[in-house]
């Protein structure tokens, strides 16, 4: 298709639950620390948005090691929500994040609805935090799956947090480890979610055949990387077509994104924005090369705005 559109003339900006992203590419929680870690490799302020590692009320040491292992086209992780805790996050990590000038989304985890609500409320008070993403589906913490696999509990959790988050966008991150992810999406939306992140890692396990022992100290972990991308695309398509489009709730698509082609797939399936996770470990500059590729792709197709791509799957 020929067009006179130049890559520079393409508009990559996205409105997402009240946040304006200059481009659709965010970091996935837990893969980019608290911001400064990748500063030697990428201008962090060039991201569409920055998503922090999970924050819990108290500091957590996390699981014993080995915590990660590579598998075919992917990796398993069982970090166990290791993080500095709410107060150190506020005092030590926010100052850098406040300088970025892009939307910052804090990923929040907890043992129970009260912890989720307390941490979310505290972060909602911080001006540079534009969104709170509820990590209802960390598969590596005891009990962490309950909220993400039971629609009634998920709705109750989101309903509890909802009134405590007044300013920031309330985002719910969905687990793929369910029979019907659309049912979970509906529950999150009923509870008051303004956007849905999907998907979290798939539950998985790998075994050392020499020692007969699991390769992760935690025995099981979460599978991420290109191996899970087709699963994620299918789930985004399902939630977009069955829940999100009609509800007007945007989807942040993630799962195995390595390049701009993967991102185009997510947008076509219905994602309004995307997040890069595992591939940041491989190449921290991935978000920038994706944006360059997206501009060229859209210019070549004669599509002036990225938003024109969202949900345009032809079936």
């Amino acid at each position: 298709m020929s067009s006179s559109l130049s890559p520079e003339g393409v508009d990559l900006s996205v409105q997402l639950a009240g946040m304006r992203l200059a481009n659709p590419v965010m970091t996935a929680s837990g893969t980019s620390g608290y911001g400064p870690e990748y500063a030697p490799f990428i201008d962090v302020s060039s991201l569409g948005a920055f998503v922090t590692k999970a924050v819990t009320a108290q500091e957590r040491k996390g699981n014993p090691q080995p915590r990660t292992v590579e598998t075919a086209a992917g990796m398993l992780n069982a970090i166990g929500l290791a993080n500095v805790g709410l107060e150190r996050f506020v005092t030590e990590k926010i100052p850098f994040l406040a300088t970025l000038g892009i939307p910052v989304i804090a990923n929040v985890a907890g043992h129970d609805p009260d912890e989720f609500a307390m941490v979310s409320a505290r972060l909602d008070e911080i001006p540079c935090i534009s969104g709170v993403e509820l990590n209802v589906s960390c598969p590596n913490v005891s009990g962490g799956l309950d909220y993400s696999t039971n629609a009634t509990q998920l709705e109750a959790l989101v309903t509890t947090v909802r009134p405590r988050v007044r300013r920031a966008a309330l985002i719910v991150k969905l687990s793929p480890n369910v029979t019907d992810i659309a049912e979970m999406a509906r529950a999150a939306v009923r509870g008051g979610a303004e956007a849905l992140s999907m998907i979290n890692t798939l539950s998985g396990m790998a075994i050392n055949v020499d020692t007969f022992r699991p390769l992760l100290a935690n025995v099981t972990g979460g599978l991420s990387g290109p191996a899970i991308k087709p699963v994620a695309i299918r789930m985004v398509h399902k939630v977009y077509s069955e829940v999100a489009r009609d509800a007007g709730v945007p989807i942040i698509g993630m799962g195995g994104i390595q390049n701009w082609r993967d991102v185009v797939e997510f947008h076509l399936a219905g994602a309004s924005a995307v997040a890069v996770g595992t591939n940041l470990f491989v190449d921290p500059t991935t978000p920038n090369t994706i944006c360059t590729g997206l501009r060229q792709f859209l210019a070549d197709k004669g599509i002036p705005r990225l938003t024109d791509l969202i949900g345009q799957l032809r079936t």
């Binding site: 837990g30 893969t31 980019s32 620390g33 870690e37 990748y38 030697p40 490799f41 590692k53 040491k61 996390g62 699981n63 014993p64 090691q65 080995p66 915590r67 990660t68 292992v69 590579e70 086209a73 992917g74 990796m75 992780n77 970090i79 290791a82 100290a217 990387g225 290109p226 390595q258 390049n259 701009w260 082609r261 993967d262 595992t278 940041l280 470990f281 491989v282 190449d283 921290p284 500059t285 991935t286 090369t289 994706i290 360059t292 590729g293």
Partner: protein, 321 residues
């Protein structure tokens, strides 16, 4: 890029390295030399996070390279075994690796002019204590590489440096032997049998678990034997060690029991190498913490730790390793 002990390292960069050589050193170990842009300052103990070059921005082509070896997804961390300025504005980086899995099988398939991607330099460096007249480097198996580069740096700082290097057997010692030099077996005397260490004016004591070369026993036993007759005061000595964790633990114990300064270079599986993925935790003592210990990251707070800080696996106290 001249290594001056005590300088602080340059910030890490992502660079493409061009394979200059990829040579077998012994039965299972290879030395890969990659040429890249000059790095202003890197120090012994630091590492490179190495992987295939990135796929070309989404164009659906296989990754560059001529091999048909399985391609790993994640990078792997390797201590820098040597670094030299070449052609004025380029540098050569050596890593020594043992083929054990997908990533190292890919590395073994690399040929001259193939490309690899590097995050470099990463991690901290071996601290070099002023006032220590003697520096001993105790390495086992694939723990040898950082000590090779350290010997080069220490040699320039006019200390008396001795290397104590062990392996399971002679075939697994990744060193070039000078066949004209007799290899002592008593553990008391060092020789210049290793061309690599001899180039850094560092005599070496070799040990092997099966006695096929040098002292019979592991490197920590060789250290103990050598120390018993060396006549070196504990306060004048610093020991650097890298190798299997059991060896490093034995070396650390030996040193801590005698108040000898000791630094260990730890190994952990890591996904990012830059402090984000939280994979590579090392348990360290922390007096202020409720349970007396906490985790540090091997990638950014290590890989070099003062031996007394490490909570070794059999220390009890409920530490989760």
């Amino acid at each position: 890029m001249t290594v001056t002990v005590g300088d602080s390292p340059s910030p890490p960069r992502m660079l493409v390295g061009c394979v200059i050589a990829n040579q077998a050193l012994c039965r299972e170990h290879f030395r890969l030399t990659l040429r890249t842009e000059a790095i202003e300052n890197a120090l012994p103990g630091q590492f490179v996070h190495l992987g295939p070059p990135s796929a070309d921005a989404g164009d659906d082509v296989s990754r560059k390279g001529t091999s048909f070896a399985p391609i790993p997804l994640l990078r792997r961390a390797f201590s820098i075994a040597g670094m030299r300025l070449v052609e004025g504005d380029r540098c050569d980086i050596d890593v020594i690796y043992r083929v054990v899995g997908t990533a190292t099988t890919w590395m073994a398939s690399l040929r001259p002019d193939d490309a690899a991607s590097m995050l470099v330099p990463l991690g901290n460096a071996f601290p070099v204590s002023k006032g220590k007249k003697y520096a001993w480097l105790v390495g086992g198996g694939v723990g040898l590489p950082p000590l090779l580069w350290l010997s080069e740096a220490l040699n320039r700082s006019s200390r008396s440096v001795t290397a104590i290097i062990g392996a399971r057997n002679r075939d697994l010692l990744a060193l070039t032997f000078d066949e004209s030099v007799e290899i002592p077996v008593d553990g008391y005397s060092a020789s210049r049998v290793s061309a690599e260490f001899a180039a850094n004016d560092t005599p070496v004591i070799l040990s092997s678990d099966d006695g096929s070369v040098g002292f019979r026993g592991h490197a920590a036993a060789a250290l103990e034997t050598y120390y018993s007759r060396a006549g070196v005061a504990a306060g004048d000595l610093v020991v650097y060690t890298c190798g299997p964790e059991l060896l490093m633990r034995a070396v650390a114990r030996f040193c801590l029991d005698r108040s000898i300064e000791c630094h260990v270079c730890m190994e952990r599986a890591m996904a990012c190498g830059t402090g984000t993925c939280q994979s590579c935790v090392v348990a360290v003592h922390e007096a202020g913490s409720p349970d007396g210990w906490r985790y540090e990251l091997c990638c950014t707070q290590g890989p070099v730790f003062e031996a007394g800080r490490i909570v070794w696996p059999d220390s009890g106290g409920g530490v989760q390793h």
